[in-house]
Amino acid sequence: MEMFDLSLIWALIIGFGIMMYVLMDGFDLGLGILFPFAPDEDARDVMMNSVAPVWDGNETWLVLGGAGLLGAFPLVYSVFLPALYIGVFLMLAGLVFRGVAFELRFKSHRDRRGRRMWNRAFSWGSAIAAFAQGAVVGTYIQGFETQDRVFVGGAFDWLTPFSVLTGIGIMIGYTLLGTTWLILKSEGYIQAWAYRLTPRLLLAVLAIFAIISIWTPLVNPLVWERWFGNIGWIWILPALTLLCMFVVHWSVKRRRELMPFMATLGMFLFTYLGLVVSKWPMIVPPDYTIWDAASAPESQLFLLIGVLFVLPFVLVYTFWSYWVFRGKVRVGEGYH
């Protein structure tokens, strides 16, 4: 066990899991937020059909992340969850409602009350879950009040102007993923609607990205030190984020179909990496690193064996289901 730094391996696995979750569940939560603004019920059908085959696979990454944290970094689990108690409940309630809405909306007739009810459950559930996830990011950046490895703060410590901003930021970011996904998967008036929305959302994302980027180092000396210390190369990350934003803008103007979505994914990826380097190796800021938060090496190893066995299957399955359901979704037809 001396040969490997198991905590580092686990940090990479969980970091990767969270990234996969954000990229994949992001666009389907985004579609949920867009739902009430869709031009008509046909458009809503198309939106939902475009993610129906893959969304539950997307959410399993969240479960894997949660369970993996308990196994590999229990301190994260036992500090984040009490600190975000109310937020975690809201997120779970949101995810459960939208999950059930997904299933039952298709089984209700369009003109019935049931359909409208499930529509509403879907959009509210998505919006609340997205906001809560953004607030988690904000809380992570702010740090936690701990004493002897135990959270000692209050129930609403997480809810600050800063975390509200990150919450809204993630909501708008996910919505942008949603519209660019829709550009890729739809056509005609639905695609035109998505094209119209994208530049506005992009502008909002840019504004929030700028505010958070300036705000974070100001409130957080460690982050200031990281960015304005002597590691020059990390500036490439925000530069790449901005480049991706430009590509989104440019490709939407050119009416490209795949590029806007890919560039938005890139934007999320580089922002995420930027966040990771800001905080590394702190996993429960401000006091604990990934090594402080780790479980016993024999436990990390025991779990690693199973996860390394299953991960390839999950990746292949994920790739396969996106491949099988590639192509446009049209009004009046699902995937057959």
């Binding site: 399993t60 229990p74 969850l81 975690v88 409940f89 059930v100 959270f151 436990s299 996860v307």
Partner: protein, 470 residues
């Protein structure tokens, strides 16, 4: 009254876990039943088996989906409400719970899709294989969860260093003393639950004369299984009780309502345990029976609750009564299974309306018995969270306030209430549609999308099912 975060957290955990448990306890048994139906169809090519397999796969899809949704919430409970417990026991509990998730993950990735949507798309043998693997997968999940739970009752293979549990032997920790008994008891409970649900639904179909041939087959095979399993379950339960006697004597004393250690203890049929007076207010029992059951001797010694100081005693009345509910329903299930065997003579099994009605009502009994059994074992462990090593009070999240706990408790009740209503309503509709050929039931098929569990059940949510029968 001051809101107690500890009590509210315990209520919340009891609520979410009970709600969640309903679905796996049913789907574990049902998955094996579906695999058997597939195997029978593969072997005999009788289309009745195929139609039964299709119907029950649809039911499985919905129940499995409900189980997954409610299970997501479970995986966060340990952190939100029991963070000290999570922190201390993560070296063991973390890998085990993760292995359960990983198994479910693997199962979903590889075989569930083939089972739900593979009919006619993959060769029959492959379909059968997928059905078997799904059944096996549900057992592997059960294995990890029950091992983790049993370890909390009879911890082994660990040492405590600075308040943190470290695993010294994975084999001893995973195969801890109560695990084999709990696993056997629970696996059989799943089969019995699946059996009574299928029997009850088949009985209902027979009552209204729908698809008689297939449903007679289903009813008959369920009753054969129940005839063997219900008495065996009583036996396994007895072994489980002896294991509890050895490792958790106080719990067993509470189950028996026995306050003072004594020889030749009666089995109490009725009693009113009074925790403050530390005795029963009233009791009627069968003399010597408890000693006989537990020690196999008339004058054997049965431990008393008073061996533990009052602050280390479980809530006796709750443990005592939930145990009796479980055992009582268990004997009722044995009786019904025997009655079914008796009625086979002359084929009365399929014609006695009274018996079919009874079976219909009996389909809820295994669920109540299972929940009562879990209440017995879990509240019987109180005040311990990890038996003899960590109490509930030590495990609860320190920063949690009563208000926060009350908010989420009410929240989960609301969320699950809505989901449960929608889910069971939909499930009954799937059953009402029964085994109609596919094309007759396509009412909302214009947006049928594969790849999600519930899309395996294409029954509409809000149409009148009776119209489709027309």
């Amino acid at each position: 009254m001051e809101l107690d975060p500890l009590l509210l957290s315990r209520l919340q955990f009891a609520f979410v876990v009970s709600f969640h448990a309903i679905f796996p306890v049913f789907t574990i048994g049902l998955a094996s039943y579906i695999a058997v139906l597939h195997a029978l169809f593969y072997k005999t090519a009788n289309p009745a088996w195929d139609r039964l397999a299709q119907l029950w796969t649809r039911v499985f899809a919905v129940a499995f989906g409900m189980g997954v949704v409610s299970g997501i919430v479970m995986s966060f409970q340990f952190g939100t409400n029991w963070s000290n417990f999570a922190q201390s026991t993560a070296n063991f509990m973390g890998p085990l719970l993760s292995y359960e998730v990983v198994t479910a993950f693997f199962l979903e990735a590889a075989f569930l899709g083939v089972l739900l949507f593979g009919r006619g798309r993959v060769p029959q043998g492959v379909h059968l294989f997928a059905a078997i693997m799904v059944a096996v997968g549900t057992f592997i999940s059960t294995f990890w969860i029950l091992s983790a739970n049993s370890w909390m009752h009879t911890p082994a293979g660990v040492e405590v260093i600075n308040g943190v549990f470290r695993v010294t032997s994975w084999t001893e920790a995973i195969f801890n003393p109560s695990f084999p008994y709990r696993l056997a008891h629970m696996a059989m409970a799943s089969f019995i639950t699946g059996g009574f649900v299928v029997a009850g639904v088949s009985a209902w179909y027979l009552l209204i004369g729908r698809d008689v041939e297939a449903n007679r087959k289903a009813l008959s095979m369920c009753l054969w299984m129940l005839l063997v399993l219900t008495p065996s379950q009583a036996l396994v339960g007895d072994f489980h009780g002896l294991n509890t006697l050895e490792y958790q004597p106080t719990k067993l004393a509470a189950m028996e309502g026995n306050w003072e250690t004594r020889e030749g203890a009666p089995f109490l049929l009725f009693a009113w345990p009074d925790q403050t007076a530390q005795q029963n207010r009233f009791e009627i029992g069968i003399p010597y029976a408890a000693s006989l059951i537990l020690t196999h001797e008339l004058h054997g010694e049965v431990p008393g609750i008073l061996e533990a100081p009052p602050e280390e005693q479980p809530p006796v009345a709750l443990v005592f009564w939930s145990f009796r509910i479980m055992v009582g329903l268990g004997f009722l299930m044995i009786a019904v299974s025997l009655l079914g065997f008796y009625l086979r003579r002359g084929g009365r099994l399929y014609h006695s309306r009274r018996f079919l009605q009874t079976l219909r009502l009996m389909s809820v009994t295994p669920f109540i018995a299972v929940l009562a059994g879990w209440v017995t074992t879990e509240s019987g462990r109180a005040p311990w969270l990890v038996y003899g090593m960590m109490t509930h009070a030590e495990g609860v999240t320190p920063s949690l306030t009563g208000g926060m706990a009350l908010f989420t408790l009410l929240g989960y009740i609301t969320v699950y209430g809505v989901i449960f209503y929608a889910g069971t309503y939909y499930l009954t509709r799937v059953i009402r549609y029964g085994m109609q050929p596919r094309d007759e039931e396509k009412l909302v098929d214009d947006f049928e999308t594969p790849k999600r569990p519930w899309s395996a059940a294409s029954t509409p949510f809000d149409d009148d099912p009776t119209k489709a029968e027309g």
